[in-house]
Symmetry: none
Subunit: 197 residues, 4 copies
DNA sequence: CTCTAATCGAGACGGTACGTCGCGTCTTACG
DNA sequence: CGTAAGACGCGACGTACCGTCTCGATTAGAG
């Protein structure tokens, strides 16, 4: 994602290194927050030379973005129908179930300093989906809707994963739906409250 | 806020220094993001010795928190009625109007790296208000409600201030109300949509 | 010694402060080396305001010099006959006896970083004595003789005080005499050894 | 000398850096006293990064010791016979001649604050020579003899190099011999004077 | 016995140097 | 050729101490 590598065998090696780095960062993210992970930590854990890191990524952020892009991409396939309003409830349930399944990973991603990067990547991908069919008929600017929904989702998930006694997946899904998704779904402009005719 | 200084004349000097530092940081925040402001930048701008910074604050975060606490405190007095549900619409309007009035300051606070600190301080103060009358009758855990609302408010305001052609105060207030406030107000538990009898 | 104070009563107070500072430094010198004693240490120990130090001495060196001058002055009254060659043996004995009596103090003075200052003061006072009757008839330049003797005395005493099982005063006196005093006493120029006709 | 570096190519670079630092310090010592040379001065002059200094030496003293050890080592090869009493006169001459030849360097070493370090290193190396054949037959403890001789030599040389019109090498050699060497050579214990049978 | 001025305590402050940490670059040897 | 190993330049950090400063409290001698 960061560089274009042409020759095939090289790409393999490069890929192997990147995977090692990504895995190392993931492992470390489950131990401590992103700000307290140094590049040396990552390369040591990845069994990779220090300088090698910079041949693959310009800096720590880039690796994190790559990692985040991957994870968000996976997550988004769960969330996609959500943005087309087909059945937001079950979309939310799918999303929560997925996160819960990988909660150790997502705890690392969302409760350390990596959250902003995650959010950024989530936003990027969501906004890209939005671009094509610009349905400006809503009372709400599209990018604000996405920004709001993504932030809310991230934040609510983070809150969830931080709890000592986390709520059930089903309850979280409903909460997510009511707080993050429903508010951007209502189509008409009303005085202040939300009417359902 | 960070230390208690006893003797009066000294406190004056200390206060002067802290004000200088706070003002300097505020000014710099309007120029560039928090991560790109060094402590030396602050002290230079504040016409204060470098070491003096550390006599007043343990690190940059502490100063930022002090500053954020002040600003949030001011903001909260606008927002207070909002959390008691009296009239969320006009509360939102007051809040938006206030932010708009000081939009240069708040642009610095919300669009640089300072936003997390701001949010944290907002949360702290809001949660403190929540503590006393713990109305757990809601379907929504109180701290999640606050976390959601605060995050949403911050995020929406940040989006607003980043726009080239920002919406009118009135419209933003309504948006804020519908996205950040109303969702946590509905008291009953419903299937998925939001009903208004 | 450092400033001229006019009014008499003031001088008393000043003197009291200086005595307190001097005593404090002396006490600290018995604990640790001069380089590791800060001015704040001294003023704290002396029960004196930090700034007051600078009202009496321009810096730590000045206080040390004052202190050294006093102690050396006392020591020199023991050593004086030594430089007029009357009876170097008994002069050495007197000197060693005196140092031994105050060995705790002199250990502090000679084995910490204060030794150079001590030596300097010793030199100053000894050279001042030398000035008047400039007997250049010796084969040895007067100031070199004094420099040598003083350094040797200081060094030998320092060695003595550092020993776990120090030699007797009598033995040290003889050693001092043979190493530091006799070598500058022989008046004629000889091939290499020292003749006694 | 401070660390053992294993890999060969690295050692080359390290060595280059250390040489640069040593040379820079030497050059600076000929300009001003050690206490007034900051580490930044040294690194700037050596065209080396500030932090790199600390990768090679824990502090300024360590560099000075390394440097002193080198120079003393060179000097000691001149002085060695001196300590075995073969021919102290010509040993002294050799020593003085050597110092005179490099008098600019040695002026820096001996008349700035570096002298104590030099002396210490001289002592270390001389005492190490003393260790093996501990000839305790002398009336004088071996370590005192060495301490005295070394101090005296250093001091006399320092005096020499500080003179505006320095004495001839020959004369200094004799002085050195009579003041610093002969006194520790006489083997028997006498009343006070020095007898030559 | 009070009044007044010098001195003192307390400690904040500007400044310099230190030593540390992490980043990103660079060199060198090796597979 | 590309990679591991790790030294290096750089810049920010936080600490320690110095010497200066301001300001209220103390105190001692003069009236």
């Amino acid at each position: 994602m960061t560089q274009n590598i042409s020759s095939k065998p090289v790409r393999q090696r490069v890929t192997r290194t990147r995977v090692a780095l990504t895995d190392a960062l993931l492992a470390l993210l489950e131990e401590r927050a992103q700000e307290h992970i140094t590049i040396r930590d990552i390369t040591t854990r990845a069994q990779v030379g220090y300088a090698t890191f910079f041949r693959n990524y310009p800096d720590k952020e880039a690796l994190l973005h790559d990692l985040a892009a991957d994870e968000i991409n996976r997550l988004l396939t769960m969330t996609l129908p959500l943005f087309f309003g087909v059945d937001s409830e079950s979309s939310c349930r799918a999303l929560c179930a997925y996160v819960w399944e990988h909660r150790k990973l997502w705890t690392g991603l969302l409760t350390g300093g990596a959250a902003p990067t995650l959010k950024q990547e989530y936003l990027n991908q969501a906004l890209r989906l939005l671009d094509e069919p610009d349905q400006s008929k809503s009372w709400l600017p599209g990018d604000l809707a996405v920004t709001f929904a993504v932030t809310a989702i991230i934040e609510i998930l983070a809150w969830w994963l931080k709890q000592e006694h986390p709520l059930a997946v089903k309850d979280m899904a409903e909460t997510l739906n009511r707080l993050a998704v429903q508010p951007i779904m209502s189509t008409e402009r009303g005085p202040s409250g939300i009417k359902k005719p």
